[in-house]
């Protein structure tokens, strides 16, 4: 089976000034007096990873463990300081509420805009328009400006567009917590269908119940390193034991 995502010895370092210097004036003065001190910390250290095609993989770990950085690397938003990230296929991240939308534009205009952010042409979007409008349940609101929408409607629209895209790899970052219970179930069903149809899915979540029921494999990251990686029934309990041990 072909590997969709390969991390080879990947390390990411944040190099930030100790005090956050946000103005050029400050920077100019301080670098003149050589007062700028940097703090370095490695968010990810020597990560080796291979995610096979069609796998749904859950990424767990405490806050700040490096989960989101891992997704950023997979999304090509960030480049590693060391090592190599190889991604074979089209990656689509599921964005959080409202990112990529313009609240002055109508629902339909936003569908085109958001589609093009995900790299889909207007023509392709036209084919999917009916399906998206139907799935998001917007009805007559498609021609109203987004600012008149409820936050639930915005979330539904975002989900509907992102999942209407033909993609190979889907990135989910705590995204299934939006909308009412009905929509959550509907979106879970969509994710399950994708999984069944052979899409590769990376799923970051703190909801271990969801991870257990959805994911084939689990990666547990702690302090920038992989602590466990493998089939869900094997890897997930290790993380749960660790959490319990922490009290």
């Amino acid at each position: 089976m072909q590997s969709k995502i390969i991390f080879q010895d990947v390390s990411v370092r944040y190099r930030l000034p100790k005090e956050r210097i946000r103005t050029f004036k400050e920077f100019a003065i301080k670098s003149f007096w050589r007062q700028v001190e940097y703090e370095e910390f490695w968010v990810l250290r020597n990560i080796n990873l291979q995610i096979d095609s069609g796998t749904m993989i859950g990424i767990v770990g405490r806050n700040g463990a490096g989960k989101s950085t891992l997704l950023k690397l997979a999304a090509r938003v960030m480049k590693p300081v060391k090592g190599q990230v190889q991604v074979n296929g089209k990656v689509t991240p599921l964005l959080e509420l409202g990112a990529g939308f313009d609240f002055e534009l109508t629902g339909q205009e936003n569908i085109y805009l958001f589609g093009s952010i995900l790299g889909i042409s207007r023509r392709e979007m036209n084919h999917r328009m009916a399906k998206i409008i139907d799935f998001s349940g917007l009805g007559d609101f498609v021609d109203s400006p987004l600012r008149t929408f409820s936050s639930g409607m915005v979330a539904r629209l975002g989900f509907a567009v992102a999942t209407a895209v033909d993609t190979d790899i889907l990135l989910l970052d705590e995204i299934l917590a939006v909308g009412d219970a009905g929509f959550q179930k509907k979106s879970l069903d969509v994710i399950k269908n994708f999984h069944r149809s052979g899409m590769t899915i990376l799923f970051v979540s703190h909801d271990l119940g969801q991870i257990r029921s959805l994911c084939d494999q689990v990666i547990w990251i702690e302090g920038g390193e992989i602590r466990a990686c493998g089939e869900t029934p094997k890897a997930l309990p290790q993380y749960e034991a660790f959490l319990n041990g922490q009290g």
Partner: protein, 259 residues
């Protein structure tokens, strides 16, 4: 690196179109006057500058309105595009944290929508040229050349600002402070012949001087600009563009740590 950015830009051309359409619809949708707004701003400025410089200071420029507008409109295209561009990476940070996009696309989209506004604001000027100016001459066909040169120059400055603002918030404010003296160092509101001869060399260090001259001459005087000025305008624009795109791509990978 730079080549890849442009290939990606081509791939995301629909996004570019949508961003421009968004800018234009959002700007015009919620205003009663609609597209007329684009013309109101230069109109008010024209009245003010005409009263101050033509009536009070008595520069005695023939057809002051045409002289002024032919330079000022192009200056506005530059100053507005660069000002908006300086914020563009910050404004879109939520998106750039999650989705891969060619980052220069925001600068290009701002320039394109400002060019649409510019084209609209040129209409009243052309009417003025027909009524009180030289009338429509063949020299006007030359105008796309200085417009392209100005666009290239504007892109270069925009790239530098957009990248620098990611690291330092106050770049925007510093730039706003510089814009005002820069405009007055360029012969836009005053005629060149009131400038004392010893200051002329300083004035001519300013690329904007050549670009404005290339654009103004066909409109105001009805003939082609000096070839030397066209060459100098083009070369300085190209140089700034290259500096801008090189700096931007050099820093672009680090944006993610700061946005």
């Amino acid at each position: 690196m730079i080549k890849e950015e442009f290939l990606q830009l081509l791939h995301y051309k629909d996004l570019l179109i949508n961003l421009v359409l968004r800018d234009l619809t959002v700007r015009y949708k919620r205003s009663v006057l609609g597209f007329a707004w684009t013309m109101v701003h230069p109109l008010i400025n024209t009245v003010v500058f005409t009263v101050v410089f033509s009536t009070i200071f008595r520069f005695g420029i023939k057809d002051f309105v045409i002289y002024f507008l032919s330079g000022y409109q192009l200056w506005l295209l530059f100053s507005q595009t660069t000002t908006l561009s300086s914020r563009c990476i910050i404004t879109n940070s939520q998106l750039l944290k999650k989705v891969y996009l060619p980052k220069t696309i925001f600068v290009f989209s701002i320039l394109l929508s400002e060019l649409v506004n510019f084209a609209l604001s040129m209409l009243p000027l052309l009417v003025l040229v027909m009524i009180i100016g030289n009338g429509l001459s063949l020299a006007l066909l030359f105008l796309p050349i200085p417009l392209i040169i100005m666009s290239i120059f504007t892109l270069g400055i925009s790239f530098i600002l957009a990248a620098a603002t990611v690291f330092f918030n106050d770049i925007m404010d510093i730039y706003q402070l510089l814009l005002m003296p820069w405009m007055y160092l360029t012969p836009i509101v005053y005629p060149l012949d009131i400038v004392p001869a010893k200051f002329l060399p300083i004035l001519k260090l300013n690329p904007m001087y050549y670009i404005i001259d290339c654009f103004r001459t066909p409109i105001y005087l009805g003939h082609l600009p000096d070839l030397m000025n066209v060459v100098l305008a083009g070369l300085s624009a190209l140089a700034i563009f290259i500096v801008g795109i090189v700096l931007f791509s050099k820093w672009a990978d680090d944006f993610i740590y700061y946005i």
